[in-house]
Point group: C2
Chain length 312, copies 2
């Protein structure tokens, strides 16, 4: 584990993601005898930051609507994390910009990156060099600060999408913060990021929502649901995800998602043709390829994989 | 639990499904002090029936290729269960027919029913009245007799698709056998059965195989797999299923599956149009409907539901 210290971290959105970062830095540092700096929470609702204070996830709170409080919160911050829904990245950065300390590093936790980068360039102008886009690949079914865990990021991946404007040291400092939570840090550009997550995360969510929608529309929906078993359960677990969040992801990553959706539709049309032609050999060959790939993925550690960028 | 007794049960295919029925009848009956009859296993490979004998899942074994042994096995059997892949239903019934005792009841465990009914009519002719088509909705990731469990069917659903030729008592006897394993028994016709399972089981398998296939075909497949996380894991768990079994299911339930696949493609095209038009309201409304339906399904007991036909 890298030794990692900071003076002040300001978290916009102290829910599952932001709260888990705060708990990880504080509680994991305590285990190794390190002392961490002040953690300030800024929230849209007074209730969520109050709850975070109550749980001692943050040391102090500031309201987004109070210029004075916001200015004091941001003064001297070495790190600022945006952990609000991606659609709020632009408005939040515009709100922060007038108070942003030139020495602060800003990063985010959004599931999409091209839109976040575009919003940051607009909101920050030349100061976009202070913004290092990021995406921790971690989550839980429950949300909110009560669901925050100190070990949410242990052995998980965090992707950083550095901008050409980012000084190397800035990227390295943000990477060190995430490594201190137990995560493995990877770098790719934002287009690559959005393509990868369109394929392995955003598309499966859309496909899962679509299956439930289709069954709902059937005249015998109740009968169908009543006989749905284990395959349906796993396939549609993600169809119980937040509609707002996934609406935003679909819109924010529209281009990459449409490309993946079209590629998927092409594969599905080929499967349809094989079923229609009773071409058992083609179906079996395709299913066997999938089985091998899925089994090997699982054996490589599945989502637990975090071994290719070891924490120093 | 209904008291259930039998003299002789002959199981064709002593794997997970057939072996679990044998273990359930024997071990659950032992708990309630009942004595069950003889259980005979018939297998394609000598190895699998030998293993079943070794594990004491069956009392004796017969080879499918030996007329004398097959005749002795079937003589005086009150129940015959076919628990082999659905594509073998026709050949198996044709092989059994010359030796079938007029007092025996035959049932099966196939995932599709229209094709099984057609095969049974061809193979058995007038004696199809002895054949009560069935489908236990249960399974495990592992297969073979070593994976068989005495409680595999507890609180699971079993669907029977009685034929017009079946005497009521025949259907009731087969239902009683399944209830003795702890399952809840439901009845529907074979077309209804195939529509329901095309939607909630067969289609999700095809969709899951297709996602893995699509990622495999991408030039950046390795990168995509390496960042696949929890959503991908659950969505594609069923893409590690048996290619042979799912090839057979796709072909056997071709008509219903194509209808569901086309309905799904229509929903997906609507989602695509909403994403393309950045119609957030339409996406959010659809996702919200799915979330509610999926959450309610889970709260009703998900796949554990077995309360509408309580065992007597």
């Amino acid at each position: 584990m890298a030794a990692f210290t900071f003076n002040k971290l300001v978290i916009f959105g102290v829910g599952l993601i932001g709260g888990s970062l705060a708990r990880a830095l504080r509680e994991r540092a305590a285990l190794s005898g390190e002392i961490v700096g002040e953690i300030v929470g800024v929230g849209r609702s007074a209730k969520s930051v109050e709850r975070a204070l109550e749980l001692r996830v943050i040391d102090s709170a500031a309201s987004l609507d109070d210029d004075g409080a916001l200015g004091r919160a941001l003064r001297g911050a070495d790190f600022v994390l945006l952990a609000a829904p991606v659609a709020q990245t632009g408005p939040l950065l515009a709100r922060i910009a007038p108070f942003l300390d030139p020495a602060s590093l800003v990063t985010d936790a959004g599931s999409t990156k091209s839109d976040v980068v575009a919003a940051a360039r607009t909101a920050l102008g030349d100061r976009v060099a202070q913004f290092v886009p990021g995406h921790p690949i971690a989550g839980r079914e429950s949300s909110g600060v009560d669901a925050a865990l100190p070990d949410l990021y242990v052995n998980r991946n965090v992707v950083l999408c550095p901008l050409v404007e980012n000084p190397d040291e800035a990227v390295e400092r943000v990477a060190a913060m995430w490594r201190a939570t137990g995560a493995a840090v990877h770098r790719m550009n934002e287009a690559q990021h959005d393509r990868v997550f369109a394929a392995v995360s955003h598309l499966p969510h859309v496909l899962s929502f679509a299956l439930v929608e289709q069954i709902l529309e059937a005249p015998d929906a109740a009968l169908k649901f009543s006989f749905a078993a284990g395959g349906f359960r796993d396939f549609t677990r993600i169809a119980a995800s937040s509609p707002e969040m996934w609406r935003d992801v679909c819109l924010a990553n529209r281009t990459a998602l449409l490309a993946e959706l079209d590629a998927y539709t092409t594969v599905l049309a080929r499967f349809r043709a094989a079923i229609d032609a009773s071409d058992g050999a083609a179906l079996e060959a395709a299913f066997a390829r999938s089985r091998v790939a899925r089994t090997e993925w699982q054996e490589r550690g599945g989502q637990k994989r975090a071994d290719d960028t070891p924490a120093k």
